[in-house]
């Protein structure tokens, strides 16, 4: 049990998001902390097109650095978060969004967990119903005595 607890805690430790920053120099950051936080939040939702599985905020690729700069420029210019996102999508397509938008083509992707759950429930339902039909027979008196004897040994 103690080992299980340790293992469980270890797994929890693994699952916490680790923070990493691609920002190379403090000059990249905005002076205004609120704006900088917004930029980092946006950047973490944008895919680096060089590494493709990292956000631009985490990546140290040159292009990611340029895109980080663009995000900050637009924020300083007074764009809202959705406007910055739209600018990125207009230039690079939906691929740049790490969180895919809900469109006709991504519908299956979004509904997959629910679908999988549904299919699982159906399979479970069918198997359980099948098990219900199997006849359970009660043990007779002699059989129970015999069983008790056997258990004692």
């Amino acid at each position: 049990m103690r080992y299980l607890t340790i293992l469980f805690l270890f797994c929890i430790g693994l699952s916490t998001p680790h923070l990493s920053f691609g920002i190379d120099s403090p000059d990249e950051m905005l002076k205004n902390t609120q704006q900088e936080q917004r930029a980092q939040h946006l950047g973490s939702q944008l895919r680096c097109l060089v590494c493709q599985n990292e956000s631009i905020e985490d990546s140290s690729a040159d292009l990611a650095k340029d895109l980080r700069k663009v995000v900050r420029q637009r924020i300083v210019a007074g764009d809202t978060d959705s406007q910055v996102m739209q600018w990125m999508v207009d230039h690079y397509g939906n691929f740049i969004r790490l969180k895919p938008p809900f469109t006709f083509t991504t519908a299956l992707l979004w509904f997959m967990p629910i679908l999988a759950l549904g299919i699982g429930c159906m399979i479970a339902f069918v198997t359980l119903r099948k098990n219900k039909n199997t006849v359970t027979t009660e043990l007779s008196k002699e059989e129970r005595q015999r069983l008790a004897k056997l258990m004692k040994e």
């Binding site: 097109l49 060089v50 493709q52 040159d62 292009l63 340029d66 895109l67 663009v70 999508v89 207009d90 230039h91 690079y92 397509g93 691929f95 099948k130």
Partner: protein, 181 residues
């Protein structure tokens, strides 16, 4: 009998799933080998869109250009982003040389030094009619560039008709030339 078929069905489910997944992987990998599937390909939404407003400073031995000049062309132009520090660009040069007799190619040097670019063109030949430079890479971001080399086919009037986010090959230039007819 009915029991047996259902059991068989349940038994075959994992195998069927594995078969489908295997088939999918096989088609993906064969596509990779044939070159008609590239997981790293970035298809930016620029097809049939107008070119961004931009202006690139001149890069010797040529003069720079801007959005208006590109729009006013009467023939299609291939815009090719390149850099002297990029090995695939070097490999692409041969294809560009051959292509330059069929279509006008204008180059934009991405994050490069003018001297390095001139040296690069002296060594490897110059397929470009005009060359501009984008030392900061800002203009390239407006175009939606994801790396070098990358090419855009711009029709008269400044509409992008084709985009290729990789080094041009003989196959891809055939696609390009078929668009010009």
């Amino acid at each position: 009998m009915k029991q047996i078929t259902r059991r068989r069905l349940l038994w075959s489910l994992p195998f069927a799933t594995a078969a489908v997944a295997g088939g999918g992987f096989f088609s993906m990998l064969s596509g990779l080998r044939k070159g008609n599937f590239d997981p790293r390909e970035i298809n930016i939404p620029v097809i049939n869109k107008p070119i961004p407003s931009f202006s690139v400073a001149s890069q010797p031995p040529s003069t720079g250009f801007n959005q208006q000049e590109l729009q006013q062309q009467t023939k299609p132009i291939l815009i090719n982003f390149f850099a002297s520090w990029c090995i695939p660009c070097l490999r692409e040069m041969g294809v560009l040389q051959q292509l330059s007799s069929h279509i006008g190619i204008w180059g934009i040097a991405y994050k490069d030094k003018p001297d390095a670019v001139s040296g690069f063109l002296q060594r490897n030949g110059n397929p470009y009619q005009r060359i501009g430079q984008d030392p900061e890479g800002n203009i390239s971001i407006d175009w939606g560039l994801s790396g070098v080399p990358e090419s855009f086919l711009v029709m008269p009037g400044g509409i992008i008709k084709w985009h290729y986010p990789k080094p041009l090959t003989v196959t891809s230039t055939q696609t390009l030339l078929s668009l010009l007819q």
